[in-house]
């Protein structure tokens, strides 16, 4: 069995297989990524670090491209500002 990692997305706990990207964990948690300038929810688009739609705050650092970063234990991810 692959190793598991537990993190939080906007406070909600998510457990994923080690090696999962933060973007995948956000989608798995049933939440969206950023909110657009006119207030609509957005999710990942390109999956390769180009479009910036999946950006989120990770452990307090804003504007991280969550598709390019792997989940780690106790990571705190926020997509709600």
């Amino acid at each position: 069995m692959p190793e598991k990692v537990t993190l939080t997305v906007n406070g909600a706990t998510v457990t994923v297989a080690a090696g999962t990207s933060v973007a995948a964990a956000i989608v798995l948690s049933g939440q969206s990524c950023r909110t657009s300038v006119s207030g609509a929810p957005r999710g990942p688009l390109c999956g390769m670090g180009i479009c910036f739609e999946c950006r989120a705050s990770i452990n307090g650092r804003p504007h991280c491209r969550s598709c390019q970063i792997l989940c780690s234990q106790d990571m705190e991810v926020r997509t709600d500002g």
């Binding site: 973007a23 990524c33 300038v37 990942p44 390769m48």
Partner: protein
Amino acid sequence: MGDTSAHKFELLVVGGGPAGMAAAASAAERGLRVGIVDDNEKVGGQIWRQGLASSPEPEASDWSKRVMSAGVIFIRGRVFHQAAPDVLLAEDGDSAFKLEYDKLIVATGARERFLPFRGWTIPNVMGAGGLQAMVKSGLPIEGKRVAVAGTGPLLLAVAAYLHKHGAKIPIVCEQASWKHLLQFGIGLMNQPGKIKQALQLKGELAGVPFSPNSWPIAATGTTALESVTISRGGRTETIACDYLACGFHLVPNIELPLLLGCRIHGGYVCVDNLQRTTINNVFCAGEPTGIGGVELALVEGQIAGLGASGRNFEAQKLFRQRESLRRFASRLNRAFSLRPELRNLASPDTIVCRCEDVRYSRLKRYASWRSAKLETRCGMGACQGRICGPATQFLLKWEPESVRPPIFPARVESLTCARTAAAAK
């Protein structure tokens, strides 16, 4: 923080996909001190991105072994600026660093082209390669309904991958016509290897409906995608789905060669026989010189790596193979060229620039990319026009222009380093 650490290489390769791996291995095996800088965890690029559960393709793992055993140094980072003629600046996480080189090979690959249609900004509408990358990095897809749409050979490869991983694929919509696809298919007769690949894909796609002359016209859903409406042979049809994997072939990543001043023609980097650009000591290989796929990227990468090592005679032996792959690529690109009807997909209130939520009706008032950028902020957001640029090029025939550093959003500290590095040089 103002101090910038430096890496020095005889050859620096930007991009660790097939072209970059082939270039780096070829040069390092001939004694050069070579570094690869790439934005991802590992080499492989998008096409050979390794999945969590699956083992890498044999060809990918062969090249990866060659890269490692030749002593190529892998650096994770994203190049955002040029500090001096032979110095690039990159950052990763909290650090910025200099990359100094004698010779440079740009192997920055391609991205998907996205075309705006109603609802394309709803979560779970993703690129075709985009969704595949997400699944490879842990997004569960088993039992999910995924409509696949757009154009290009990537669609079938993605559909086969998702199908194999348990997704239900209600349809694969290909905008190209049967006529174009058949002409292309007949062209394959000269390429037995390609026929084998195509037959293999067909086997993997057993039971998945493939529909040419079809394209998405609207996606609907409130907080996430619920259904997609397609135009199929002149009729519209609505299909319930959890994901829409949608991409319209590929566009090259030419921001770095533009920044370096390399000559670009028709959207691609101009290179000579040895893959040299018009800038001294700068080579380019793979998709930025023309969309051509893995095999062409590997051959161009090897030629560039050999050229950078001064092994021109060895490089020449690969010219014929490159020629044949380039001919194949140009047939492929013709077969999957975009039909003009797709220009009508965006309605006046469709968002074209996703970063700044600029709608199509606002953009149509402007004559050029530059004036639209200044007046509407289209292309001025975080992606710097990487998504809406190719879309407006198709919709409005706007030509992209020069780039300005930083070519990727960078932290203020990194930009300070850029200034220090430039002053020190």
